[in-house]
Amino acid sequence: MEENKEQTFRQKRETHTVPQHVKDKLKEYNSIKKRITEIMGDEEWNIPNLAAKLEMSTTETLYYVMSMLKFGQVVTTGVDDMDEYYFYKIKK
């Protein structure tokens, strides 16, 4: 029984096909995440600067950075002098 349980996702594959858009979305997320990680490097970034570099809207950039923050891949390091934007950094 225990043995079988390990494999339930395989069994499920027989009856359930993963929709293409789900796979595409995952690819997209991972590629953007990779780009963000590369761009950010060791430096602190705020959302507008990062978005400009990514050539993506600030709204979307925020979504990705916040998700990465939630999953512990990014940390908040501080806030700029104008108290306008927070800085984020890749967590090493």
Binding site: E6, F9, A51, T58, T59
Partner: protein, 435 residues
């Protein structure tokens, strides 16, 4: 196809929000067996998602969690989450037959420890519905930290069946072979605590909520302020900037015949004042302006709370906002008449919160179809005998708890749930039917 399972209860409580939880607890405490049915992954309803509650500023979680954990442990209460009520039929001899479907969670509920290792392992990220899409979540996930039950669930719609979670799970509780389970419940009584829906501001295009990122609803702001918040700070969704001119637009979708909801939602003034106070606390430099028609701070301690907000420097402007226009930098121009002076004004803000109103939830209409669930003219459940027995519905043996019968705040909801459970217990006690 697995066979339909049959269970008997004294009461079925539909809806696991605060009203349902309170009702279930009261009934169970009187020695009756209760089934609490919740369609979401967690009980706690809307209240558990809130930041703090007026007028005491207790954190919402501090109030909900003790009740929730009490109900979760109660020997007389069975909780079904992720479960839909398909139909409830009244039987001739004074009991109800309820058809319910418990959707597969793909997790063995009794073995999950909530360790979140599956969540860590899962590679899929999709917008988090509990955070109004402001941040992502995994396909294997726990809704939020204080969810009850605090166990994982697999979002099969977005799962790529990679098996990472199954490999990561230390208790082998992930089971992709789970199916939806059908139940037939025999019960003597039903408590409807299905709660309310929030007004969708997309129905008012002149508020630009669909196009302007920085026009958000009050529920989104609750999330931004809550301990289980999507961002770690209060920042605006368009670009992560810390807002410093914040506006509240009261009566969005309430007291408004032009959107078909003529009644007052009873809570928006107060939750907006509360949020304003919290914002003043977390963003001391920010200006918060509340645009209102009438401030309805009518409950115990509410007026004092309103005065307190004024004292803290929250700016109250009498006048309903007519139009919100987005500017290129994401800031917003609000057009309103300042009633005090009678002049049309325009004001710029960098974050606008639409204090959306309370609408009825029409779910009961679906599952009570054949018994003719009756509604009042505002689409809320009909209270058959308003003064004598406010929690009576038009169907004998079916009782109304909380916002099913109209907008109310949390204290009123709890009192209403208390009344509903009292009537339910009385009804069960008097019914002599053997089931």
């Amino acid at each position: 196809m697995p066979s339909i399972q049959k269970l008997n209860f004294d009461a079925v409580v539909v809806g696991g929000g605060i009203a349902g939880v309170e009702s279930a607890l009261n009934i169970a405490n009187s020695g009756y067996k209760v089934l609490l049915v919740e369609k979401d992954l967690t009980i706690g309803g809307k209240m558990i998602l809130l930041s703090k509650v007026f007028p005491t500023l207790d954190c919402a979680a501090c109030i909900t969690t003790p009740k929730i954990s009490e109900v979760a442990r109660h020997p007389n209460v069975t909780i079904f989450t992720q479960t839909e009520v398909k139909a409830i039929h009244k039987q001739d001899n004074h009991y109800f037959k309820a058809e319910i479907v418990k959707h597969a969670r793909f997790i063995d509920e009794s073995n999950c420890t909530g360790c979140q290792l599956c969540e860590e392992a899962c590679p899929v990220v999709v917008p988090d519905q509990y955070q109004y899409g402001m941040v992502g979540r995994k396909a294997a996930y726990i809704p939020f930290n204080i969810a009850s039950p605090r166990i994982a669930a697999i979002d099969i719609e977005n799962c790529i069946l990679c098996g990472a979670c199954e490999k990561a799970c230390p208790t082998q509780c992930i089971d992709f072979m789970q199916h939806d389970e059908e139940y037939q419940i025999i019960t003597r009584s039903v408590v409807v605590a299905t709660g309310f829906n929030l007004f969708d501001p997309v129905k008012i295009p002149r508020f630009s909520s669909e196009t302007a990122q920085n026009v958000i609803t009050s529920m989104q702001m609750e999330r931004l302020l809550a301990p289980t918040r999507p961002y770690n700070h209060v920042i605006r969704p368009s670009d992560g900037r810390i807002p410093d001119k914040i506006a509240y637009v009261l009566c969005t979708g309430s007291r408004d015949l032009s959107v078909g909801n003529p009644i007052c939602s009873q809570i928006c003034c107060m939750y907006s004042i509360k949020q304003a106070q919290l914002l003043m606390g977390s963003l001391p430099m920010a200006d918060v302006t509340i645009y209102y028609i009438n401030i309805r701070s009518f409950g115990k301690g509410f007026e004092e709370f309103y005065e307190q907000a004024k004292g803290m420097g929250v700016n109250f402007v009498k006048g309903k906002v007519g139009k919100i226009t987005e500017k290129s930098n994401g800031n917003l121009t609000l057009r309103y008449e300042d009633i005090k002076t009678g002049k049309l004004k325009e004001a710029d803000h960098d974050l606008v919160i639409l204090s959306v109103g309370v609408l009825s939830n029409d779910d009961p209409q679906q599952f009570f179809a054949e018994n003719e669930w009756k509604k009042d003219k505002f689409n809320f459940a009909l209270q058959k005998d308003l003064f004598f027995k406010p929690s009576l519905s038009n169907i004998e043996g079916v009782f109304l708890a909380g916002t099913t019968s109209g907008p109310m705040d949390i204290p009123d909801t709890i009192l209403s749930a208390g009344a509903a459970s009292m009537e339910t217990i009385r009804y069960i006690k008097q019914s002599t039917v053997e089931i």
